[in-house]
């Protein structure tokens, strides 16, 4: 069975660095890569009835956009490097959902980029990488 690496991608510089870093490791260890994009979403948020009626449509659009704008370019560049890649888009709480995807895909490791937030912003808005390190079921590599 081949090893699977999960890479969290959000289109940021850091996540691109994480993807190329993971690609090198994957090539060396003949591992497969799963690129995951999480659309932030809570089942407990509130909406107007009109938003509810359009939700399904919006969700499809969000997934479509995540693929075309964020994941596809990374997917292509990794494919060109000769790595076996797969993409996943999921709605949910970012760090929790990444941990879930890692479990479902049987990933051996998670790679995530660092945004380099200051302590204040991390405190106020939380840091996905920081939370993931604390909660992930598998080892996490934070790429600077």
């Amino acid at each position: 069975m081949t090893t699977t690496f999960l890479v969290a991608v959000d289109g940021s510089e850091g996540s691109l660095r994480a993807a190329s870093f993971a690609a090198e490791r994957a090539k060396a260890g003949k591992a497969k890569i799963v690129l995951a994009y999480v659309i932030e979403w809570s089942p407990y948020s509130f909406h107007t009835p009109e938003e509810l009626a359009e939700r399904h449509k919006r969700r499809e659009e969000e997934i479509e956009r995540a693929h075309s704008r964020v994941l596809d370019p990374v997917f292509k560049s990794l494919k060109d490097k000769g790595v076996d890649v797969e993409t996943v888009v999921h709605h949910g709480h970012p760090s929790e959902t990444l941990a879930e995807i890692a479990t479902n895909k049987g990933a051996a490791q998670i790679f995530i980029g660092r945004k380099g937030e200051s302590r204040i912003t991390a405190l106020l808005f939380g840091s996905v990488a920081g939370t993931l390190v604390q909660t992930s079921p598998v080892p996490v590599t934070v790429v600077p």
Binding site: W41, F46, H47, T48
Partner: protein, 506 residues
């Protein structure tokens, strides 16, 4: 586009406010129609001293029937409803779709409104403390009616080619009757319902709300004598119309987001303070509760006795939780679920929260206040002002946050109803951008109108329409009831056998 609409709207409203006596013109023109129409819809059978409106009887019989026919789903389904809302049965693959919680929260913000604060006071004033008991009973029975309505809403909804959904009684009435070979009749009642919900949306879902918000605003800014705003209904109305318009036409989601977030907290905040006020009068609690029960059975001091109290209690409960009207099934049909029954089960929490919890708490606030201070109910306060006064006895500054809460409730109710009315409108005229904008512009005009005119006759017409659409709606529920029962039994059997499982959530 929207700028043109808004400026046109302002122009129209300006000229309206300039025209003195506008109120009276409308009132005198509509009064005879309202009177006749009200007489027809609220046709009363005299029983002793009490007069029982047939339409209320129709709703009560419907509630009782569905409670028995569905095997007390309102009790049986309660625990399962909470599990569904908690997301125990939600497939993680569907993350990002409308959750049960969201559909419930939206429908609840549509029903929790002025009725929960002011309507209860009206019930207690007219029907005595005993009306509270019947209010709770009506809430309990309404849970079953809502279950049937919302299950059907999901089952017979339309999935539009663009991926959005349209559902509600007009759809299940048309399709349901057609399935039974009554295509013509189905078309007729579907269209009839659509017209009714449209008119209802302009009245109790709109003018009544903006009017009551204005009344409360004037009260806290100094009362009708002192407040600078007392004769500036048009100004308040235009501001309100602009805010509503910016959300529904301008698509300024942030305002709606804020309201939808604040409303649940307001409801909790309201209940918390109400409980504090009730316990500040703790001496009066046993007496207040006793009054509710004795009043329910004897109807002491109420016109028509116990039956009078019952009628008032039921009528107000329907106004508040909308069970039997079918409006909530429009909001609930947006949920993505393969099992329509789940949405029905979730919706039974709505009359529970709205009527059994919030209305009862309001009734107790007033009830304990009138026990602690005999004659409290007789000082001439009415509706929301009475509830406000009951709070003020214990917490002197409370009328201000209460007014704020009332305005927010009114606002969120208007947003929800604007959608219900829109669905009626698009059912009749088709889903197009022009029709959508035209409806919304009309809706905004009525928001402003609500603060300007004396409501009397116009509101009576709208009220009558809302009750009138209960007739075809519940008729449809009877016809389609067996389908719901079959689905319900099959669903619960599969839950029991383990075919429908809870998902493991980390």
């Amino acid at each position: 586009m929207k700028r043109i609409f808004l400026s046109a709207l302002i122009l129209v409203l300006m000229s309206v406010s300039a025209y003195a006596g506008f109120d009276e013109t409308i009132n005198t023109a509509t009064a005879p129609i309202a009177k006749w129409f009200g007489k027809v819809v609220f046709f009363k059978i005299p029983i002793g001293d009490a007069a029982l409106p047939l339409v209320v009887l129709w709703l009560v019989v419907g509630g009782v029937f569905f409670t028995f026919y569905m095997g007390f789903i309102n009790i049986r389904g309660f625990k399962h409803a909470i599990e569904l809302v908690r997301g125990d049965y939600s497939n993680p693959k569907d993350a990002g779709e409308v959750s049960h919680f969201q559909a419930l929260a939206t429908a609840v913000s549509g029903t929790v409104g002025i009725g929960n604060i002011g309507g209860v006071a009206v019930a207690v004033t007219v029907g005595g403390p005993g009306a509270t008991f019947w209010l709770i009973m009506a809430g309990f029975l309404g849970m079953s009616t809502k279950f049937v309505e919302c299950t059907l809403g999901v089952k017979y909804r339309n999935e539009n080619p663009d991926g959005s959904v349209s559902g509600g009684p007009m759809y299940y009435l048309r399709k349901g009757f057609s399935e039974r070979g009554m295509e013509g009749f189905g078309k007729f009642v579907g269209a009839f319902y659509a017209i009714g919900i449209f008119l209802g949306a302009l009245g109790i879902g709109n003018m009544f709300q903006s009017n009551q918000a204005f009344v409360q605003f004037v009260n806290v800014t100094g009362g009708t004598q002192e407040s600078w705003f007392a004769d500036k209904g048009w100004l308040f109305g235009i501001v309100m119309a602009l805010i509503v318009g910016s959300v529904i036409i301008g698509g300024i989601k942030s305002i709606a987001k804020v309201t939808e977030k604040v409303v649940p907290f307001m409801a909790i905040f309201y209940c918390a303070f109400a409980l504090i006020v009730i316990f500040m009068n703790y001496d009066a609690i046993p007496q207040a509760i006793e009054n509710i029960f004795t009043g329910a059975l004897t109807g002491e001091g109420v016109v028509g006795g116990a039956l009078g109290a019952l009628i008032i209690g039921f009528q107000r409960a329907v106004f508040s939780n909308e069970a039997g009207i079918g409006s909530a099934s429009i909001a609930h049909s947006a949920v993505r679920t393969s099992e329509p029954v789940t949405e029905g089960v979730v919706s039974l929490l709505e009359p529970f929260i709205d009527t059994i919890v919030i209305c009862t708490i309001t009734a107790l606030v007033i009830g304990t206040a009138s026990v602690a201070e005999p004659g409290f109910a007789l000082v001439g306060q009415q509706g929301i002002a009475m509830t406000s006064a009951a709070f003020e006895r214990e917490i002197s500054w409370f009328p201000i946050p209460l007014a704020f809460a009332a305005m927010l409730f009114a606002f969120s109710t208007m947003i929800s109803w604007s959608y219900y009315g829109l669905k009626g409108w698009t059912y009749l005229f088709g889903e197009s951008l022009v029709m959508d904008r035209l409806y919304k512009a009309i809706f905004c005009c009525f928001v402003a109108l609500g603060c300007m005119v004396q409501l009397g006759p116009i509101l009576d017409i709208s009220d009558a329409f809302v009750f009138l659409i209960c007739v075809p709606n519940i008729l449809g529920l009877y016809v389609l009831g067996p389908i719901v029962k079959k689905e319900m039994n099959s669903y619960f059997a599969r839950v029991k056998s383990g075919e429908i499982k809870k998902y493991q959530h980390s």
